[in-house]
Symmetry: D2
Subunit: 353 residues, 4 copies
């Protein structure tokens, strides 16, 4: 922490602040400058909670310096973390992009299978589908719950896709851990610390979405919550933040991708569906996400968005998803990444019947 | 919902959109204008999920009209809701302002009692103190939990103050319901719908803080979640939102007070402590909050903020709280509200001993 | 400026950064901490432009410390600045609140006189009216220009009100300086540095509105531009900032009032009309502005807002302005301020005829 | 415009609103819905200024529908506008990307020539360099003015690059029009309507940067100002907007690229230098900008950023610019665009000598 004194602060005022700092158990390092003195504080283990320093006579401002994250940081682990799924070639953080696709919510077995077949054919390794839906309105479709989890477990068997789905509370977390391959924590729960800790005690990878108004530091600290409980398999995801801009549902902040990669070893995906909220912007922003260096994408795909029970406006059609994969395959090559070929799907002809 | 067509949309394009709307089970109302046609949609019970309307040829934009809240709305209940606490003169939403004060977190029995005595003497009817603290860092003080709840129950007995404290998950909610008088749902959990529903099934009033990037509509819908489960005793609280402005920790949005009062019958408080994050701004913004018409305040008070385990920078001293109450008492009169006199505290002399 | 090193930065890396700093002509002050080293930089006269420091090996972050404003700062002038108007009792920054009222735009002589009479009767000392209107659309009413200035000069003669009106470019600035008493620089021009400099070379007080996304520092620096040219009569004005919140046209940031007063000696007003954009919120936010400690208000008043050529939705009726003045008079007393009595208006009976 | 009535609004209230609308000279179209009535308004030529409608009894909300832009809109011109420079193969809006590069400010002839040579060699067709610098501080380097314009005119002769530079007021606009090929209007002046109109009366293409908090509508309306004066050669530029996010100087909003392209025929560039403010983010965001479909880039390049007089932190080195061009060339191909080969530079060997 740094205490900046006013320009005309007297020597006694500077001394009083230093004494205060020392009395709190820290060390004070006054740095006299051209026009004013700044005082560095060391000896703190985490962030200093400065109490009343800012109120002392002669103090202009108190500036935080220490960043409180540890396990998420490249300070602790230099190399990129790669999350792998044993027995498969699916991964996050490797050269291969991790591509997750599927409907916003699981509505029926038929709907889920129809979409799953198409996204598997296109080359996705992960299937997403909401079983528990956090909806702004209590009167909106809230998800099929356990039934949806069972449908997705079948999809894993049939198509070889790994399953990503959101847990919204302790109860659903237990079930998601049991049935799915990746536990998603949604943007609205990014600072539901109780849920984060519980996710940190599971054995499954956790996909953590950035909160709607989370700073980079808060985002990394949320991941730190999970890791501090022992689960180091965390995948971050940018999904748009809330700003004044009204031409999209959220403002997709792609610059956080290189910012995270500079500070942290964790992989980071981009969600262009929530990030824009508009079908006609999903493809261009998917290309941009791969070009900026994201480790993968999570995309909403629905074969009949007019009748989707949620997020119909931002779901793309399966044909558009094919096009998306074709385009990002070419861009991935430019950034030395790879889009995998579709898994062999021997029974697909029948499945479609 | 309203579909706005492009200026040169043809009659066939307008017709196609109308047919699409009707095929989805709604009614279409084309309104031909000077330069373009708009199409109103009715027949929907809640918000229309328009799926692919925006993608149709000739469509420029889709605008939402229907507001999905019901129970929170003055449409359903014209008169202001008043939350009362039987056997006391404490309330929220009445002519008397509801004033909540106390430390950010309960740290020790002595600390809690020291602050409680002072805020009771100053005239507060409610004591706040964190037992479960949602902290950005997993390494920061997380609260004393049940022990803190028991200390606060003692404070209720001793000083006659009603207790307000935050629940952060299902487990803590059960305990808070048991020990406290008002269950607080914090800003980070404003869209933790699972927690909101559970709070809606309790019998205690719920203090719901606005999320850091919540629109008015989302804020009211979060209250609707609680009410839709049967608990109509909801108190709203503005606590600052996240913006680009960096001279305060958050930007306190006082205009939401009259905005809520126009749309909803629920009482709304203001939290100037989190709303500014700076001790020297708590008094001016408290005055402003009462002047704008808030139904009460929630303020952090600590007798030794230098050694506070959380939020020391924004906690005011007990003497400042005395001053705050004196000032808002005068302003309250201007807006036809009242600050109550301190409860008689016969044993205070001894308690202080 | 402060350079924060990574946790595992080597001694050589720290040394290299220090050498770089010295080679740029500054002094480096390494501060070894528990987990990482920070390096203070001094010897800079203004803000350091750090070029490539952030890119050096081992550097985590570069943090700015020096605030570049001088003349606006209490470092230079401890006491509050008061702007007076010789021969009148009107002022900004004194115990008396400076109250400016009038229509958004001057539309006709009759309209202007009708409103002026009412606001004078209510106690305002300043009349506002747009002669040059910065409008989002080139097709909207752009103001009457010189004709409006002449009408306002007549109003000064007739009612004794001082005139506040906006200049939008060099040409209008010359005319506004000639005809008006206070030159307003609007929010959209807060960083039109060319206009600021020219305003700094005039002899009339300048009312500078905060830009829609201006930080406190940028706001003060814009005032510094005016002052650096020799005009020290600057009045600041908060008029709402742009955020995600959509229940008001802008989000009125009242916390900037005490923040400015802490750092600067300049007076600061509040504009509740643009700050909310809604007539029904002007009164509550006016009360709040006075309660928070603002040095005055600027309010849009129109006797026939249905036919106003601009900002009809946010203009209050003259009767509401009477009510506003009555309410803030009571609140002013609480914060040791005063609302002046109306100027004697001997000819008003005739004027109204 | 649409007036939404409250749920329990009476028939008389609806009728009163309709009569009010008709009395204002518009037509009212009541649309009775399941739970409430909405009233469409037509007959307006531009945006309706609704005055007091929102205050009428029974009215819940007033929603704007009509978009006021005309000339910028695809309603008026379906095909993409292409801005060409006679006698050259440089353009904006064509298949070839328009690439502008150069230092933030022109500091010396040598500096400008050094950078120009490198960006020409890399394939840029446009050279940027500030002659008039809008700086937050009046004490910061403000540009060389006319001298810089003359240096850039020489650069055009020597390297065949077209010149892009910013005008900040009427005086500089005249000079920029005389010496440069493209007149830049900076973000801070996006709503300096006086300057926009004057730019609209020039014969040179105008590069209009998005304001720091401009909505899409305001951005297009600023372009409309220029076009409404007769200059149809407008190039838009996204350069980052102001949000709460603090890991970059601004938040680059790439989604506005497809949003503009949907509504308008004008070309749109991206500025990754101001958009991120950090050298290490310029390359990834440049790739993303091309991938999202931007019509070009404007990039700050400096051969010695440590000693740059402005924006050193965000300027990339010439070698990095070579790399940038190589990367976006590959990505351009994916989106069916092209990066041109370097212009032949016969005299470069000597120039470098």
């Amino acid at each position: 922490m740094l205490v900046v004194m006013r320009a005309h602060a007297s020597e006694e005022q500077v001394r009083a602040v230093c004494e205060k700092i020392e009395s709190l158990g820290y060390r004070a390092h006054p740095i006299p400058g051209e026009s004013r003195t700044a005082i560095g504080i060391t000896g703190n283990r985490g962030a200093v909670e400065p109490g009343s320093l800012e109120e002392m006579t002669g103090v202009q401002e108190v500036i935080y310096v220490t960043k409180p994250y540890k396990l998420v940081s490249r300070d602790v682990k230099e190399d990129d973390s790669v999350i792998r799924f044993p027995g498969t070639d699916a991964s996050f953080g490797a050269t291969d992009l991790g591509i997750i696709a599927g409907p916003c919510g699981i509505e029926t077995r038929e709907q889920a299978f129809t979409v799953a077949e198409r996204v598997a054919k296109a080359g996705a390794r992960f299937f997403r589908g909401g079983a528990y839906k956090p909806r702004t309105s209590p009167y909106a479709f809230q998800g099929l719950g356990l039934e949806a989890l069972k449908i997705m477990a079948e999809i894993r068997e049939r198509f070889g896709l790994r399953i990503v789905t959101e847990a919204i509370d302790n109860e659903s977390l237990d079930l998601v851990e049991e049935y799915a391959d990746v536990i998603q924590i949604g943007a609205r729960n990014m600072q539901n610390f109780s849920l984060l800790k519980k996710a940190g005690r599971t054995r499954k990878p956790v996909l953590l979405k950035r909160g709607m108004s989370a700073t980079l530091e808060e985002f990394l600290m949320a991941a730190e919550y999970i890791m501090s409980e022992g689960n180091y398999q965390v995948i971050l995801c940018e999904r748009g933040v809330r700003t004044f801009a009204d031409h999209t549902r959220n403002t997709l902040d792609l610059s956080i991708v290189p910012a995270v990669q500079r500070l942290s070893h964790l992989p980071i995906l981009v969600d262009p569906s929530h990030g824009t909220g508009k079908r006609n912007k999903v493809l261009p922003l998917s290309r941009a996400a791969v070009a900026v260096g994201a480790d993968g994408l999570i995309v909403e795909v629905h074969h009949d968005p007019d009748h989707a029970l949620s997020d119909g406006m931002q779901s793309i059609y399966p044909d558009q998803f094919d096009e998306l994969v074709a385009e990002i395959r070419l861009i991935a090559a430019v950034v030395h990444r790879n889009v995998q070929k579709p898994l062999p799907q021997p029974k697909l002809a029948q499945a479609a019947g």
